[in-house]
Every structure is written in C-alpha cells, then in structure tokens.
C-alpha cells in the first residue's frame, strides 16, 4: 500500500497531492509509537552448542525509527571522517565503520549502559552508541582538547567511563583479555551486568583470545565475545587466514551463535539472548556476519583484495540502513520525505559538529605531561597515599 502511494504521488499531478496528504494523516503507526511490533529476521540464527533464539524480534515503531536515525548519524559521521582525512585534518590511522552500523546499534538496543563494551580500533560508532557526542568524536579525531580523550588518544582510543565503554585499543586482540577482566570484575562485585568484548575476524586467530576464553569459561564469567566478521583481516580474506572460518564454532566448549550482522533486529535479538545466557551460563561467542565498505583504514583503498562489484553488491542487497528504511516504509511508520528529512538533519548535525570541532584549540604543550600518572609525578615526591608532598626533587 505504501509503495503504491509513493508511486502515485511521483506520477501524481497536483490533484493527487492533497489526497496523499490526507492519506498520510491517517497513518497506521506513528513514529513515536512504542506499541510492540514483531518482525522476523531475514536469516535464521545458526547455533553451536546452544539453542538458537527465535527469529521473531520484539521491537516498536519508535525503536525502528531511532535505529534509522542513529545509523544514519553513524554513516554520515564516518563519511565525513573520510573527507576530513583526505583534507589532512585527521592524521595517522582512521578505521571506518560504515557498513557495520547494525552491530553497534543492535547491541545498544539489547543492553543497558551498565553493561560494559570493549572493542578494538574501529570504535567511532560504538562510542556514539554509548552516548558519545559528535563533537567529542570529531574533536578527538582532529586532536583537539574537546575530544573524548582530550586529543591525546586519537582515532583508536575512544573511551567513555560513565557509560562503561572501555575503548578503543590499537593492538589486535589485546582488548580480549581486558574484556575478560571487565567480566571478572562484574562477577567479583556480583553485578548483574555483562561485558561485550568485540574483536574482528583477524583477531580471531590470536592466542590470547583462546586463553581468555578458557578463563572465562572456567570461572563462568559474564563475558560475551562478539566477532565482527567483515571477512577481511586488513587485506587478507578470512579463508586465507583461518583454517576454520566458522568463528562462532571456534570456542569449542563455549557455545556460539552466528548472526546476520547487517540486520539490526537480528543483532538485537542475539545480544538479548547472549546477555541472558551469559548471566546464567558463562561466556558465549557471537559471530556477526557483517561488511565494511571502506578499506581496513584510510590508507587502504579496499579494492585490491576484493572487487568493486562485491562491495556494491553488498551495499545494494544487505545495507543495514536500507533495510530499516524499507521496514519503516513497509510498516508505514514514516514516509520517504520524513526519512530524507532525517538524513538532511543528520548531515547538518555532523557538519555543525565538525565546524565546532575545528574551532576547538589544540592541547596546550603542558598537557604533554598530564595524565601520565594519576596525580602527576616526576616533579614531586609523594608519600604513600599520595596525600602529602614530602620533597620536591631538584
């Protein structure tokens, strides 16, 4: 019905416009509605040593609407970062997440801000998902003091303590033991929270993953290891790097679930299921089958190891934002125009944030020495407890 309405309005003369306007007032579902809506995931879940969750996902119109808006923000942000990098305002490494937004958004929808998330260097969007602002992102990417880490971390070091986002790590796989440590602390303090430790298909071959998995399984830590499988470890395809690319099965004794990572509702369902599982039974591996449109980083064109047809094929068939757009239109939650307006607004927000971040100053040279130690060291000799200065070193 929605499609025919659109078709008629594009072919319509002025006569039909008031008609379509009248029709739109009597929309079936409003975009603020929180009435439950059940939608099936496009692909089934494939499980390893556990029962797969049902394909029917509970959501609501407002949730879908927010998915669209948030994913559009992330997409726009990453593309803007691409231009900023080419304009040499962002230097060093810049790993972009466009194409993978569904994983970040779906995960956030299933958990609370008390649950912890830790990831590797492709962290701009997870930071946004955890409550970071666009200004903090662009400020940090451009090395300004308004950045999330005061400009001292850079693209690979976004953190947000108040919403339990633990970064932002440059070394492949090093965040996995940290993630198990977060889960250990959650178990130690008897909190009913879980930790999502994200890593890529490249890191899935690291020894420390299996060491950490062993410990998490041994002590029933509430750790959920999420493999964001975008099928390429930098330039090496997964079948060239892993003997067994079924990453959800590689936990062996740890149950696993393979999820269509481009379907935000599937991600939401899987993460919800994983949280319940981890709180009762210990660790779980989620393999998100996703895809990145950009290369590994900005210095990688992304087309030497895969064909442009492949990239555009995924973009046409599996793009996460397009899926949500189609859902919104099919369930008549929003109109084409509204969605376009949102995209325009998002574009404006991103441009505003960039402009504001550009005005922000660079860190002062004295900032070089702050935060090396807690409470500044090397100049004064403190007593234990750091409460009194005992001597000033010459």
């Amino acid at each position: 019905m929605a499609l025919s309405r659109i078709a008629s309005s594009t072919h319509a003369s002025n006569l039909l416009k008031p008609l379509s306007a009248a029709l739109s007032i009597r929309r079936v579902i409003s975009s603020d509605s929180t009435d439950p809506l059940t939608i099936e995931t496009s692909l089934p879940f494939i499980s390893h040593k556990c029962d797969a969750p049902p394909r029917a996902v509970d959501t609501s119109a407002s949730e879908l609407f927010s998915f669209f808006r948030d994913m559009a923000t992330m997409r726009r942000m990453e593309i803007a970062a691409d231009s900023l990098y080419k304009a040499k305002l962002i230097r060093g490494f810049c790993h972009l997440y466009d194409g993978q937004e569904a994983v970040a958004i779906g995960m956030e929808a299933a958990i609370t801000k008390k649950d912890a998330i830790i990831t590797a260097y492709r962290d701009h969007c997870i930071f946004i998902g955890r409550g970071g602002t666009l200004l903090e992102v662009f400020g940090e990417l451009m090395g300004r003091i308004c950045g999330g880490s005061k400009g001292k971390g850079g693209s690979m070091h976004f953190y947000r303590k108040q919403t339990n986002f633990f970064g932002g790590h440059g070394i492949v796989g090093a965040q996995i033991p940290l993630g198990c440590g977060l889960a250990f602390a959650q178990r130690y303090s008897k909190e009913e929270n879980v930790t999502f430790t994200l890593y890529g298909d490249g890191a899935a071959n690291q020894g420390q993953l299996f060491e950490a998995l062993n410990m998490a399984a041994l002590w029933d830590l509430p750790a959920i290891l999420v493999c964001e499988n975008n099928h390429y470890g930098m330039g090496t395809a997964e079948w060239r790097a892993a003997k067994n690319p079924a990453y959800y099965k590689r936990g062996d004794y740890v149950p696993g679930l393979k999820v269509d990572g481009m379907d935000v509702l599937a991600v939401k369902q899987a993460c919800k299921f994983a949280k319940e599982h981890a709180l009762k039974n210990g660790p779980l591996i989620l393999e998100m089958d996703t895809y990145r449109y950009h290369g590994h980083s900005m210095s990688d064109p992304g087309s030497t190891y895969r064909t442009r047809d492949e990239i555009s094929g995924v973009r046409q068939e599996r793009d996460p934002i397009e899926r949500v757009r189609k859902l919104l239109l099919a369930h008549d939650i929003a109109s084409e125009k509204e969605l376009k307006d949102i995209e325009k607004q998002v574009r404006k927000d991103v441009d505003d944030a960039i402009a504001k971040a550009k005005e922000c100053p660079m860190p002062d040279p004295s900032e070089l020495f702050t935060n090396v130690y807690v409470k500044g060291l090397g100049v004064e000799s403190f007593g234990a407890d750091r409460k009194e200065v005992r001597a000033t070193l010459p």
Binding site: A116, G147, G148, S149, K150, K152, G153, H157, Y159, R160, K161, F166, G167, G168, H169, G170, I171, A174, I176, P177, L178, G179, C180, G181, L182, F184, A185, Q186, R187, Y188, S189, G207, Q208, E211, A212, N214, M215, L218, W219, T370, N371, V372, Y373, V374, K375, L377, G378, S381, F382, G383, A384, D385, R386, K387, E388, R390, A391, T392, L393, P394
Partner: protein
C-alpha cells in the same frame, strides 16, 4: 673540592660509621637504617622507632634521609616481631586485603598451592578462591584480565611466578597498563600491582634468571620499585597496593628467606623514596635489591681499609629519587652504581645518565657503574658467580674511584 680519602682513621666525625665494626649475624641482614617517618593509614604521622640523635647538626629533611637507629641494643629488646621477607610480603598483602575488599590477587598457583614462594600462603582459605585466583598458565591473558578489572575499580595484584614469564605479558603491561590513563584522557586509572621474583638465583639457568627492570623502565605510566629487606618489602607492598598508578614490584629469588625484625604497628613506605642504608662521606654507592647485601659486605672491608662509603638503596627504580641521590652526590662527589641488571640499557645506565645530566658539576670523577655481564646467565656455579658483581669487585672499584 678534593678531600683526603686514603688513610683516614675509622673514628671520623661520623660516629655512625663505628657501628659497622659490630658485625651482625650473617643471617640477619639488619643493616636497616631506613626511613622512620611513616604515615599511618589514617594519615596521621607517627614515629615508629626511637631516634638516637648522636649528631644533631646533621640537617635531615623530613622525607628522605635517615638517622642511625639505636640498633646497638640487643635485638630482643627492640619492639616489633621477627619474620622472613616472604612473610613480610604476605603480611602487607593480607593487611591490604582486609582493609579493602577490592584488593585481589591473581597468578599461577597463588591460591590452593599457596604461592610458589609462599607469599600468598593461607590467603585463599581466608579470602576465598575469587579473591586469590589460581589462573591457568596464560600470562598475557591474566595480566590483561587484571588490567581490565582494574579499569572498573578493582585493585588486582598480578603475580608472575618468575619475573621472566612476564615478558609474555609485555604487550599488556606496556600498552594497556602503562598507557590507558593517558590515552583515555585521564578517565581510567589502572591501580594494579605486578609483582614477582626476578634476578639471578642459585643456578636456575638463563631463562629463569632474568632482570626485567631494564626492559620495563622505558614504559611511560608505570612505576617500578624493588624491595630488599622485610621492612621495606612490607612497606612497599602496601604502598604499591594503595597507589593509583600501576606499580611493578621487583622481588628477588634469593632474598625471600631474609629474617629481620619489623614494627608491629602498621606502616606504609613511600614509593618514590630511596633508603639511606649507611651514611658516609667519601663515595656514594647506589644499589638496589640483592646487590645491597654485596655492597654492605664490601662496605665492611672498605671501612676496615679506611674508607667511608655512603650506601643508598635506591628502591624506586622508576622514577629515581633524585632528591636523595642528589644530596648524597653533592656531599661525596663520587658515585658508584652497583646493580644486577645487564650493563647494556640497565637501570645503572639510566641512573648514570640521570646523575650526569643533573649533577655533573658536583662530580669529581666519572660515575662508575658495576653491572652484570651482558651474557645469558650460565648454569655452572662458578660462571654464574662471575656474571654478577661480587663484593671484591666493589671494593676494588671504590679504591680506584677514590684515588
């Protein structure tokens, strides 16, 4: 300003040097003339031992320099209790675990086995398996796990069964432990303590005789301390646990069975302070960990020969206590560094550079640094003896330095 070094009678203006003619029993290395000013856990100052002020004109800053204590009296009349160094470490650990429920230990065989050097013996029965965690043999991961737990506010103590094994965890220690506070813009602090025995033991072989302080010293954001007596072992352990920064506490395999008397009252030492072991006039000898004892042995010989060495146990390997060291250099004008690290890139090399940069005008002679040989530690006993610095070499070095 040159002073006569040769032929000075042993009864110099410093009466404290005479005390060293009283040779203490070989097993109890009670040469502890350590920092007395301590801070109790409730931040009140409390003097622990009585000061025996023989020479009131010596100006002592309240932080660092020490007075000779009244150790002439027999050990039985001194307050405190006697214990071995590993027991002192355990006492410090136990007190901190009782005081703060966020403190936990993790490492290989620390729980049910009681620790390979008995430092954590009995703690698992007392505090439970979660607080004294037996980990699988996966140094990289359990170090990372400890660091991750510390990001949320726990205070783990990560034990490496031998310091050398922590090389496997170097990535976690360097990148995550040292740098997270900086790269997160101050959001996360990592209050971990990484501890373990290192150093050359008794014929343990090359891989188990490593001195890791030289590898870790460049990592920004961490602190390193080395304990050498039961007194400073307990104090440094407690200070390290209470510190908000990551601290690496270096213990030595051969020092675990040192017996000494420590105070009954609670005390915490400062992580950045050096310890004045023996005040002197002629030469400053800087040392740490096991070499302190070789130096003190050499000091006995030197005193008999008429020299008056000032011995400082630097304790804090990162950052160096340049305040104490500087004061000493300004007094004696000659420096000898005795360390167990390798010659290349060791703590002595950094210390030499630091002293030369800061106190070059106060030096009458180039700094001499005695370090271990740049070889893997051999198994044969005689060869192993020759990789580390021996007291005879220290005596020769001081004699040459003081010419």
């Amino acid at each position: 300003m040159a002073t006569l070094f040769q032929g000075l009678p042993s009864s110099t203006a410093f009466s404290s040097s005479n005390k060293f003619n009283h040779v203490p029993a070989p097993t109890s290395f009670s040469e502890r003339k350590s920092s007395i000013v301590t801070v109790r856990s409730d931040a009140r100052w409390s003097p622990v031992l009585n000061y025996a002020t023989h020479k009131p004109q010596r100006l002592i800053t309240n932080a660092v320099a020490t007075k000779a204590d009244s150790s002439l009296a027999s050990t039985s009349s001194k307050p405190g209790h006697e214990l071995l160094l590993f027991e002192a470490l355990r006492e410090g650990l136990e007190e901190e675990m009782e005081r703060d429920p966020c403190v936990c230990v993790m490492g290989e065989d620390v729980g049910h086995y009681g620790g390979s050097y008995k430092v954590t013996k009995g703690l698992a029965t007392k505090f439970g398996d979660l607080r004294v965690l037996d980990t699988p043999i996966a140094e990289n991961s359990f170090t990372g796990m400890g660091i991750g737990a510390a990001m949320t506010g726990l205070r783990p103590i990560i034990e490496g069964m031998n310091m050398g094994f922590l090389l496997l965890a170097f990535n976690q220690i360097s990148n995550n432990c040292g740098m997270l506070h900086y790269t997160s813009g101050g959001q996360f602090k990592i209050p971990v303590v990484i501890r373990g025995p290192g150093g050359v033991g008794r014929q343990l072989g090359a891989e188990h005789s490593q001195r890791l302080e030289s590898y870790f010293q460049s990592i920004p954001g961490i602190q390193m301390v080395a304990c050498s007596t039961p007194y400073n072992a307990k104090g440094l352990m407690k200070a390290a646990i209470r510190s908000e920064n990551p601290v690496i506490l270096f213990e030595h395999v051969l020092l675990y069975n040192l017996k000494d008397r420590i105070p009954d009252e609670e005390y915490v030492l400062s992580l950045e302070e050096a310890e004045m072991v023996r005040p002197g006039e002629h030469v400053t000898i800087l040392t740490y960990s096991r070499m302190r004892y070789h130096v003190m042995q050499a000091a006995k010989t030197l005193v008999n020969k008429g020299y008056d060495p000032e011995v400082i146990d630097i304790r804090s390997l990162k950052p160096f206590d340049l305040h104490t060291i500087g004061k000493s250099v300004k007094k004696t004008h000659r420096v000898l560094i005795v360390e167990e690290c390798m010659r290349t890139g060791g703590i002595g090399a950094s210390l030499t550079a630091a002293i030369t940069e800061n106190f070059n005008d106060d030096l009458d002679a180039p700094i001499v640094c005695l370090s271990s040989q740049d070889v893997p530690t051999p198994y044969a006993g005689t060869l192993e003896e020759w990789t580390v610095v021996q007291p005879a070499q220290i005596v020769t070095a001081v004699e040459q330095l003081c010419q």
